[in-house]
Symmetry: D2
C-alpha cells in the first residue's frame, strides 16, 4: 500500500461525506456511494433489506420523509442503481472471502450524522475550506464521516493483502448509530451470527491525536422512548368535561418519570428531553408527544428504568382517560471487550509503532449500539472489542464547531488492517 496516496484519498472522501451529512436511516447518498466503491474494489456487497430486519427497526422516519430524502440524495449525487437496491433501507455489508479456511472477522463503521447546525464562521475549517454541510440543520459533528472514510481505507488495504489472508472479512456499514437506532436491526438480520471476531472504533472521545485505546468500555445501556398521548379535544370553557387531556397526562408522566427511584446496582439516568402538546389556548389538548431517554450502568439497571418508565406512561394515560402509544426509537446495551482480542490487538498496534501511546482502556459514559454486535458475537463464543482512535478535536462532539484531526485517519486504517491481518494469518 502507498499510505501517502491513501491518506490523500481518505481526506478527499471524508470532506465529501462531510459536505453531505445524512441523519439516521436517511444515509442514501452515503450508503450508495460506499456500495459502488466496495463493489468496484471486488467486495461482495449486500445492502438494504438483505441486511436489515425490518421488524427490528427503531426510530426510522415516516415513508414520506424517506421518499423525500431519496430524491434529495439523488440530487446530491447518489448512485441510482445502488440506491434502488436499498428498497428504502440504508445499511450494507461488504465481504471479502479469501477462499481459504480461517476465521470470520467483522468490522463495524457508522454512517449517520447528527441533527446539529454546522458553524458558518470562517474560523471553522470546513467552512473556510469549502466542505461544510450543505444540508441545513445536519452536520457530521460526531466524526462518522471519518469512520466511513477509514472503513473504505481498510477495505483497500485488506484487498491489497488478500493473498496473504485466510478466512473472511466482513465490513459492516451501519445506519443510525446516533440514538442507537441501526445496529439492532442488522444484528437481528444475522450479519454477525458467524463472526469469530468483531471490532468497532470511534474517533476522538476525549483522547488526543497519537493515542490508541485498546478497550473503550463503560457504554451505558439505553432505551430511547417515544410516547404519544391521544385524548379528546373540547372547548376548555364551554364543555371541559368532554375533553380527555393529553397535555395533563404528559405532564404527570414527566414528573413520574423523573421520580423513578434510583437503583443500587449502578448509575441510572432518565430524561424527558422534549414535550410538545396542544393546539390552541382555549382547547383541551388532545395530543402530546414526548421524547424520553433511559440509561443504566448495567443492563439490569437499564431494564428496570425502562420497565418503570412504561408503567409510568401507562398509568398516566389511565389517570386522564387517554391513550398512549409507546415505541422504542433506539436501544443500546453494555459491553466488555474480550480480553484475548484486546491482547492480540495490543500486540499488533504496538508493533506498528505509529502511535505515541497505546492505552489499555477508557471509560465512555455514553451509549453506543455496536454493543449489540459485541453481545451477539460473544454470546456464541466469539470475541469482540471497541477501540478508541485518539484525535485532537476543535469542539466537543455534537457541537457545530466540531472538527477532527484528519491526519489520524490513516493511522486508524493501518491499525485496523494490522489487527485484522494478524487475526486472519
Amino acid at each position: 500500500m502507498d499510505y501517502e496516496e491513501l491518506e490523500r484519498e481518505l481526506i478527499h472522501l471524508r470532506r465529501d461525506f462531510h459536505a453531505y451529512p445524512e441523519s439516521a436511516w436517511l444515509e442514501f447518498r452515503t450508503c450508495s456511494l460506499i456500495s459502488r466503491r466496495l463493489e468496484a474494489l471486488g467486495y461482495n456487497v449486500k445492502s438494504g433489506l438483505e441486511v436489515i430486519d425490518t421488524a427490528s427497526v427503531m426510530g426510522r422516519p415516516s415513508e414520506e420523509v424517506i421518499a423525500r430524502n431519496i430524491q434529495r440524495a439523488l440530487s446530491q449525487g447518489a448512485d441510482p442503481g445502488q440506491l434502488t437496491r436499498l428498497q428504502g433501507y440504508t445499511g450494507l455489508t461488504a465481504e471479502l472471502d479469501t477462499g481459504r479456511p480461517g476465521p470470520v472477522v467483522a468490522l463495524r463503521f457508522d454512517m449517520d450524522c447528527v441533527e446539529v447546525q454546522e458553524d458558518t464562521s470562517s474560523s471553522h475549517r470546513p467552512e473556510r475550506e469549502g466542505f461544510s454541510s450543505v444540508n441545513t440543520g445536519l452536520c457530521h459533528s460526531c466524526g462518522h464521516d471519518a469512520h466511513v472514510s477509514i472503513g473504505l481505507g481498510v477495505a483497500e488495504a485488506l484487498m491489497s493483502e488478500r493473498e496473504r489472508l485466510r478466512g473472511k472479512v466482513r465490513l459492516i456499514f451501519q445506519p443510525g448509530e446516533e440514538g442507537c437506532r441501526g445496529a439492532y436491526a442488522m444484528m437481528m438480520k444475522g450479519v454477525v451470527d458467524d463472526a469469530d471476531y468483531f471490532m468497532a472504533m470511534h474517533i476522538g472521545m476525549g483522547v488526543p491525536s497519537g493515542v490508541f485505546v485498546l478497550n473503550a468500555a463503560g457504554w451505558l445501556a439505553t432505551a430511547k422512548i417515544d410516547a404519544e398521548f391521544s385524548g379528546v379535544p373540547a372547548h376548555a370553557s364551554a364543555s371541559p368535561e368532554k375533553g380527555r387531556n393529553a397535555l395533563l397526562a404528559a405532564c404527570t408522566a414527566t414528573l413520574g418519570l423523573h421520580s423513578i427511584a434510583p437503583h443500587s446496582g449502578g448509575n441510572m439516568r432518565i430524561n424527558v428531553g422534549t414535550l410538545n402538546a396542544g393546539t390552541g389556548r382555549n382547547v383541551i389538548a388532545d395530543h402530546a408527544a414526548m421524547r424520553i431517554e433511559t440509561r443504566g450502568e448495567t443492563q439490569e439497571v437499564a431494564e428496570y428504568a425502562y420497565s418503570r418508565a412504561v408503567e409510568v406512561l401507562k398509568g398516566s394515560a389511565m389517570m386522564y382517560g387517554v391513550d398512549v402509544d409507546i415505541s422504542k426509537a433506539g436501544e443500546g446495551t453494555t459491553s466488555e471487550g474480550s480480553p484475548e482480542l484486546v491482547r492480540v490487538a495490543g500486540e499488533a498496534v504496538r508493533e506498528l509503532g505509529i502511535f505515541g501511546r497505546v492505552e489499555e482502556s477508557s471509560h465512555a459514559g455514553a451509549s453506543e449500539d455496536a454493543t449489540w454486535f459485541m453481545r451477539r458475537v460473544q454470546s456464541h463464543g466469539g470475541q469482540a472489542v471497541y477501540f478508541g482512535l485518539g484525535s485532537d478535536i476543535t469542539a466537543p462532539h455534537h457541537n457545530g464547531r466540531f472538527d477532527v484531526d484528519e491526519a489520524v485517519m490513516i493511522d486508524g486504517v493501518r491499525a485496523l488492517a494490522a489487527i485484522t491481518e494478524r487475526l486472519m494469518s
Copy 2:
C-alpha cells in the same frame, strides 16, 4: 296534647342526648333509648339488622371500634336489651298502624353527632348548665340532638291522635347522616318502599327562630371516598429500586384529583382532605391513606366527578406499581321537593299560626343523605319534602360553640304532627 309539658320534656331529652353524643354507626346509647321509649309508647319498632342492608353500609368503623363503643354505651346508660337487638348496627323504624286504610307517611330523624370538641367556656350554655358533651372530641354541634327529641315529640303527638288518623306512620331514626353514611343502607333495606309521603327536617341552617321553610333544596350530590395505597417498603438509600412508593402514588393522585376538569352541567367540588403516608424518614413508604370528597350540583356532575376520581386513583397506583383500595365512605344525591306536598304542608303550617314567617324554599349548598329516601319515594310515585326549622344559633354548624334555640323544638313537633295528620285524615 299538653304542649307545655311536652316542651319541657323535649328540652330534658335534648340535653340528655347532647351530653352523650355518638358519631356515625356508634349511636348505641341513643338508638337503644329511642327504641325503648317508642315501644313504651306503643310503636312497633324494628332495629339493627331488621332495617339496615349490611351490603350497602358505608363508612362504618371497624368491629373493634364497634365493640368498644357498645361497652361505652352500656356504661353511659344504654338499654341493654334494645342494644342487643341491634346486633351492632344502629338505626330503627317505629310504626303506628291505625288499622284503617290510608297512606303510609314516613318521617326521618338523624341521630349522630359530629367529631368536634365542644367548647368548655362558661359562656357556652351546655357547659354552664351542665349538659355539655362527656365524650371527648364529640359534640352535637349540628343539632341532631334536637332532631331526635323532635322525633320523640312527634311520636307522642301522633300516638295521642291515633284514633283520628288513617293509614300508617313510620318514624325513621337514621344513623350516620354526617358524611352521608347511614340513609343509603336503610333505603336499600326497603324502609320507604311503600311510603306515599316522606318528610325530613333540619334545624337552623342559617334561618332564624320563628321561620319555617317548606322546601329546603339545593343539596349537592356527593361521594366520600377512602383510598388506601399499598406498596412495598425498602431502605431508601441502600435499595431504593426494591420499593414501591405508595406516598408518591398518593401525591400524584392528589394533584390529579384536584386537576379534574370542571363540568359545564353545574358546580363541582373535589377535595383531598387528609393524606397520611409513610413510616420513617429513610424508608420508602409502603402505605398511604387519603380521605377524599367529590360533590356535584347535579347527579350527572357528581357521577362524572366520582368516575374521574376513580380513574385518577387507579392510574396513579399503576404509575407506581402499587395497589389501591377504593371504598365509598358515604354518598348523597340531589333532591327536589314534591310540589303538591309542599303546597299541602304550607297550608297546614300556616293554619297552625305559630310561625312568624313561612318561606317557600331555601338553598342548602351542603349535602344530606335523606335525599336517598326522597328519590326512592318519588321514584315509585310518592311525594317527598325536606323542611327547614328556623332557629337562632350561637355559632355555625359544626363549631364547638354551636347551640340551638330550644324553644323552637316544640314548634317543629307541632308542624310535623299537623302536616302528618292532614295527610292521614
Copy 3:
C-alpha cells in the same frame, strides 16, 4: 338610502375582506382600506398611534412579523398612504361631527380573522364562488368580515342622514378582538372617554337569520397568559446536575394551574392549551413555552384565577431554579347592557319591522373585549349595549367551513343606523 344598492356593495366588500383575512394586530390591508373609504365619505379619521395606547397593547406579534405583514399587505392592495399613517399599529376611529349639540355615540366593529385553515372543497361557497382566503392558515370564520362591511354600511347610512342628526358619531374599528387583544389599548387611549352611548354587535352566535338580540350578555372575564420558562441546558447523562430544567418547571406549573381551587363566586375556567419544551432527547430542557387561559363568571373570579395563576407560575420557576417570563396576551372583562339603552334600541328595531323576531337577551358564555369599552362608558355615566345579529351559518364559529348569511348584513346596517339616529335626534 338605496338599500338594494347598499346591500350589493356590502356583499362585494365582505367578499373582498374575506379573501384577505388578517389576524390580530396585522390588519394592515383591512385597516388602510377602511380608512381610505371613510375619509372619502367625509369622516374625520384617526388611526395607528393616534388611537392606540402602546403601553397597554397585548399579544402583538414581534416587529419582524409586523414588518413582513406590512409588505404582505402592500402586495395585496393596501393603501400605502393610510398604511404609513398607522406606524405599525392597526386600529382607527372615524368621526362625524354634526356641529350641533347632542350626544356622542360610539359604535365598535372588529377587523381581525382567526388562525384557521379555510375549507377548500367546492361545497364551501367562498371556495366555489372564488372569494376564499388567499392567506394560508387564516380565515374570517368568525364573521368579522361581515362586521367590517356593516360598519362601512352604517357609515354611509349615517352620512346620508347627517343633516337630521345632532351630536357626534364615532365608528371604532378595532384590531385583535380574537384573544381579547385590541380593545383594551384603544380604551386606554381614551377613544370612548366622552361617549354617551356605546354599541357593539356580533353576527351569528347561535341565533338564526331574522332575529335581533337586544342584549347579548354573559361574557366571561378572561386573561390570556403567555409563560416562558428559561433554564440551563446540560447533558442529561453526563452532567445532569448542571441543568436547570424548564420542562419540569412547566409540567409542575401545569398541574398547579389545573389544581387552582374553584371559586364560590361563580364559574371559573383555567386551561393550559399548549406546552412546547426542550430541544433534544438527551438534553435537559432549557426552554418551555405555555399558552394559558383563565376565565371567570365575574371580574372577581377572573382576578382570583389570574393572580393564583401567576403565583403558581412563579413558584414553579423557583422550585426548579429557572426564570419565568409571564405576559398577558389578551384580556376581557364582563359586562351588562344598560337597561335604558336596551329599551330604546328595542323600540327602534321593532319600529323598523325588518326582523322576524326581536329577543330581549342572550347568554354568550364566551369572552369579548368590547366589554372594556362598555365598562369605561358606563363608569362615567354613559350607556352601553351589545347586540346580536342573527344569521344562519354553515358551520360553528372558528370552523374552516363557517360562512354567514350575507343577506342579514343590510338588516344589521339598518338596525344600527336606526338606533343611532334615534339617539342623535
Copy 4:
C-alpha cells in the same frame, strides 16, 4: 486488668442499658449513670450545656417531651444530681489528664436507641432472659447499649494504666447518633478542638464476631429535613377560594424532591419518608408535615441535594400561597480514615492477637455523624479513624429481633485501650 471480671461487668451494664433504651436527646437515665460512674472512677466529667452548643442542636424534641422524659428517667433510676447538671441537654465528656505532656486522644461512644418495638417472643434472648426494653416502641436494636458498655470498660482499663500514659484521654458520650442529630452540636462546642487523635467504633455492621475493621469508610453525607407547610383552612365546598392548601403544596414538593436531577459526582438519594396533612375530608388542609432525607456520596453531592431540596420546598410553598418552615433534624458528612492512624491501630490490634481477622477497610453505605468529629480533628492536622467491631447478630440493625454477641465487647475494650495506650506512650 482482670478482663474476665470486666467482661461480666460489661454484660451486666449492657443489659441494664438495654432494658431502659432512650431515644435521641432523651438519654437522661443513660447519661446520668455514665456520669456518675466515670466521676467515681476519677474522670473529670463535663455534661449538658458544658458540652453542647445549643445553637447547633438538631432534631431535639419539644420542651414538653423533654420534661416528661426527665420524669420518666428519674422513675427508672437516673441519678438525680447528675441529671440536674444536664439542664435538659444530654451528652458528656470525661477526661483523664495524666499531667504528663503528650497527645490528646478522643474516643466517641453513642448512647441513643432507635424507635423500634422490641420483639417479645421467647426466642429473643433479651425477652427470654428478662432484660428486654421496658420503654414501649424503643429498643437498643442498633447496639449502642454495647457501645456505652465498651466506653465504660475502656474508661476502667485506661484509668488502671494511667501511670504509664502521657497526655490526655477524653471519652465522648454523644446523644442522638440516630438521625445524625447529636455530634454536630458537641463538635461545635469544641470538644475535639484540641484532639490529636479521634476514634469511633461500631459493633456489627455486617461483620461477624472475631473480625476487627481498621477503617470503616463510605459514610454518606446526609441531611435530615423536617418541612412544615402552613396554609389557611376553608370549607372545601362552600368557599374553596378562601383556603391556602398546604396538602397540595406538600404533594407538589414531594414530586419535585423525587425529581431532583442526579449528580455526576456520585450517588445521591432523596426520600420523602412520611407525609401527614389535613384535618377533615371537607376542609382544605391548612397543615402538612414532611420528613425528608437527602444523601450524597460526597459532601458536594450532599450539598447539591440539600440546596435543591430547599429550593423545591420554598417554590412549592410559593405556588400555593402557603408558608413553609424548613429545619434540619440531623446532618452527617463523609469521612476518610487517616492512613497513619489506621496503620498504628493495625499494629496495636494485631499485636493483641485476640481477633481472628483484622481487615483494612469496609464500606458502610449508611450515614454516621461521628464524621463531624473526624472532619474537625483532621481539619486542624489531627488524625481520625472509624473502627468496626465484628459481631454475630440475630437480625439486621434496626430490627426488633436484633441482638449482639456480648462476648465481643471485651475485645472491643481491649482493642481501643491498646490503641490508645500506644498513642499515649
